[in-house]
């Protein structure tokens, strides 16, 4: 026990003292916050990029009716959305006109082109051309504005006084509330999404990062032959356990620092902007789940990475062997949209019970929509069982591999190690 402790302590202290640990601890949250909040912050401050649309209105009745739908302004106070209603020369060829304006959009003279056909008021389709079709917000809002303009025009045609059309066509605002087990929370689902993304990414990154460190640390000892001195004093399993615990403790320390920083930061934000703080607040129970799933996921992958480190004879070989393991860790991140769309679907439920995906998948689901308690319990039981199984398997590979220099084992050799050990 003393020796495991000695190994744990060395592993822990050496890592915590390293510059890379301190840098990582500081930079990861900065990076995460940057990625998550910077775009929102920029958007809220500048009111977004200016949008300048060329409008070709074949109905000749919508001029000036689009602007009232847009109230946002740029930093200098000018309106963000500007519409250039094109004068259509008599006898103009629509095709030539369209192509000419498309060229202007390509040249960057306009953000986009709005093509309103003559039958737009009687069921025709309005077309929008833009270089950047990816901004769904602009598309949706422009479409909505055209609809409103068309509606007011139709109302006037049906004899409604123009002064009343504004009130009649007014949009109905929608506010979203999140229904939780405990009650109702305003602010919708942004915080769930942000929380999920944050937790899933950090979980994935740290499991991978610390798992790889286990593998590298074992390889270092193997290549420098320190392992023989260690093996003289400790059994292989003690050595493996000591390394995994020591490196895991570094991870937990990092989380503790982040947790404290987040708490302090949260208090600060609450002071500055209570509404924002509420929309993005993360319940403390989430942190508990987070640490538990980190430890379970980490122990499972650390056991695999320990075997990888013991098998490899060089850094390059280790990297090749790490590949398949890394892919296993990434899979839940690839399936992120699927989980978001349907966190309780059968496929996601099954996947989140497979130990290799469990940690990250469950953490995503817990953030989006709390899964039934039995599923959380089952995922943890399965993870613990898998960790024990994997540790037993890895210990066998580790025991033989750690003293094998010069050559990486072939698959049949590996099977023999596992059988014979």
């Amino acid at each position: 026990m003393n020796r495991i402790w000695t190994i744990v302590r060395r592993e822990y202290l050496e890592r915590v003292r390293q510059r890379s640990f301190i840098l990582g601890t500081v930079l990861v949250p900065v990076f995460m916050l940057g990625v998550t909040f910077l775009p929102i912050w920029i958007a809220s401050r500048t009111g977004g990029q200016p949008v300048h649309l060329a409008v070709v209105d074949w109905t000749a009745s919508l001029k000036g009716k689009l602007e009232p739908s847009f109230s946002d302004s740029l930093a200098d106070g000018s309106p963000r959305f500007r519409f250039d209603y094109q004068t259509i020369p008599p006898g103009a060829d629509p095709k030539t006109l369209l192509e000419g304006l498309q060229k202007d959009v390509r040249a960057g003279d306009y953000t986009g082109l709005l093509w309103i056909p003559a039958d737009a008021l009687t069921g025709g389709t309005v077309e929008m051309y833009a270089m950047n079709a990816a901004d769904p917000e602009i598309g949706a809002r422009v479409g909505n504005a055209v609809s409103r303009a068309a509606m007011t025009t139709r109302l006037v045609q049906h004899g409604v006084p123009a002064a009343e059309t504004e009130a009649i066509s007014k949009n109905v605002p929608l506010k979203i509330f999140k229904l939780t087990k405990e009650g109702v929370r305003e602010g919708g689902f942004e915080s769930d999404f942000v929380g999920m993304l944050l937790f899933a990414m950090i979980l994935y990154m740290t499991i991978l990062l610390y798992g790889v460190q286990v593998s590298r640390s074992i390889l270092e000892e193997k290549n420098s032959r320190i392992v023989e001195i260690l093996l003289k004093s400790a059994r292989p399993f003690q050595l493996m356990l000591g390394k995994i615990i020591g490196i895991g403790a570094v991870g937990v320390t990092q989380y503790a620092i982040w947790g404290l920083a987040a708490t302090a930061g949260g208090a600060f934000i609450r002071g500055m902007s209570p509404a924002f703080a509420q929309a993005t607040s993360i319940p403390p129970s989430m942190f508990v789940f987070f640490v538990v799933y980190f430890l379970l996921g980490y122990f499972l992958y650390a056991a695999i990475f320990a075997a990888v480190g013991a098998m490899a004879t060089s850094e390059q070989e280790a990297q090749q062997l790490q590949w398949p393991v890394t892919i296993l860790i990434i899979i839940p991140i690839i399936l992120l949209t699927m989980v978001m769309r349907n966190p309780d679907g059968p496929v996601v439920t099954v996947l989140s019970l497979i130990p290799f995906f469990s940690s990250v998948m469950m953490m995503m689901r817990i953030n989006l929509h709390m899964p039934p308690a039995w599923q959380i319990g089952a995922s943890m039981v399965i993870l613990v069982a898998s960790i024990l199984g994997m540790a037993a398997l890895s210990a066998r590979i580790f025991r033989v591999g750690i003293l094998m220099y010069g050559k990486r084992p072939t698959l049949p050799e590996l099977m023999r190690w596992i059988r014979e050990a």
Binding site: R3, R10, Q18, S224, R225, E228, I229, L403
Partner: protein, 299 residues
């Protein structure tokens, strides 16, 4: 009592037999050499003594018992291709080695400084291993091996790659350990290292024990038929052909192995007639010679 007692130990790796039915005893307080060419089974034997590897069959007792954690704390081990944690500081590294062998952190730190001072290396305590020269790293490695004041020290090829200063230092440490009653075992393929410092040796070849025992007795048994000659002029090879088994002639100096020990006076008479003999000495066989002969005899 014997520091180590090995009985009929065998170890195979897949199809290859690395150690084959080896038995030997290392008396307490001796300096004991394992000799043999690379790949002869020295390292495997050492690893089995330390329980890094398990023998397929046979029995090993260390310091009077089956090696357990407590006994293991009384052993110092220097592996063949030794290593240190490159990015670790010297002091931390030594404290770690000490703690692995049951020392408290404070005691390990105190001893680390005593040793570093002794090796004129007190200034390096806070330096990282990777900043040290190879010779300095070797010193740190010795200290790590003996910091817990072991009763039994096992050194695997300790002299390979050492500069002359460190070679002498290591020999001093070995003698000092013996003087304190500790047992020192080391393996080497360089016979001349053994000749100068070992009480007892074992010759291993292809996993089998060839010769084992007191070095002086082995010399007696296998020596006596080699003559060292210093001369000038030309060695009369033809004239002595019938007396001589082999000649290792270096121009001014020759080692001549006789067919029969009692022919030495006859050889001297014939040499004196043909060249200018400055020295003629019946020598103990070198271990190199003994080794070659024993291997040939075993074939």
């Amino acid at each position: 009592m014997d520091a180590i007692s090995v009985r009929d130990v065998t170890k195979s790796f897949s199809t290859q037999r690395a150690v084959d039915e080896i038995s030997f005893d290392v008396p307490e307080g001796s300096i004991y050499g394992f000799l043999g060419p690379n790949g002869s089974g020295k390292t495997t034997t050492i690893r089995m003594i330390l329980k890094i590897l398990m023998p397929d069959s046979g029995e090993i007792r260390v310091l009077g018992k089956d090696l357990d954690d407590k006994t293991s704390n009384r052993i110092g081990y220097l592996p063949e291709e030794r290593g240190l944690y490159r990015s670790m500081r010297v002091e931390d590294q030594l404290v770690f080695f000490g703690a692995l062998h049951g020392l408290s952190t404070a005691e390990a730190r105190r001893r680390a400084h005593v040793w570093l001072e002794r090796f004129d290396a007190g200034d390096w305590a806070m330096r990282k291993i990777q900043e040290l020269s190879k010779g300095m790293q070797q010193k740190v490695q010795f200290i790590g091996t003996v910091i817990h004041d072991p009763d039994l020290v096992i050194l695997d090829e300790p002299f390979s790659g050492l500069d002359p200063v460190n070679t002498r230092l290591l020999k001093d440490v070995m003698l000092e350990l013996r003087a304190r009653g500790s047992t020192v075992i080391f393996s080497t393929h360089q016979m001349e290292q053994v000749e100068k410092s070992c009480d007892r040796i074992m010759l291993i070849h292809k996993g089998r024990k060839l010769v084992e025992g007191l070095l002086s007795r082995i010399r007696q048994e296998h020596g006596g038929d080699v003559v060292q000659v210093e001369y000038s002029g030309e060695l009369p090879r033809e004239a002595v052909k019938d007396l001589v088994e082999s000649i290792n002639d270096q121009g001014q100096y020759a080692e001549i192995r006789l067919r029969r020990e009692e022919d030495a006076p006859a050889l001297l008479r014939r040499l004196v007639g043909a060249c200018d003999v400055r020295r003629f000495q019946i020598a103990e066989a070198s271990l190199d010679d003994i080794f070659v002969r024993v291997v040939e005899a075993a074939k």
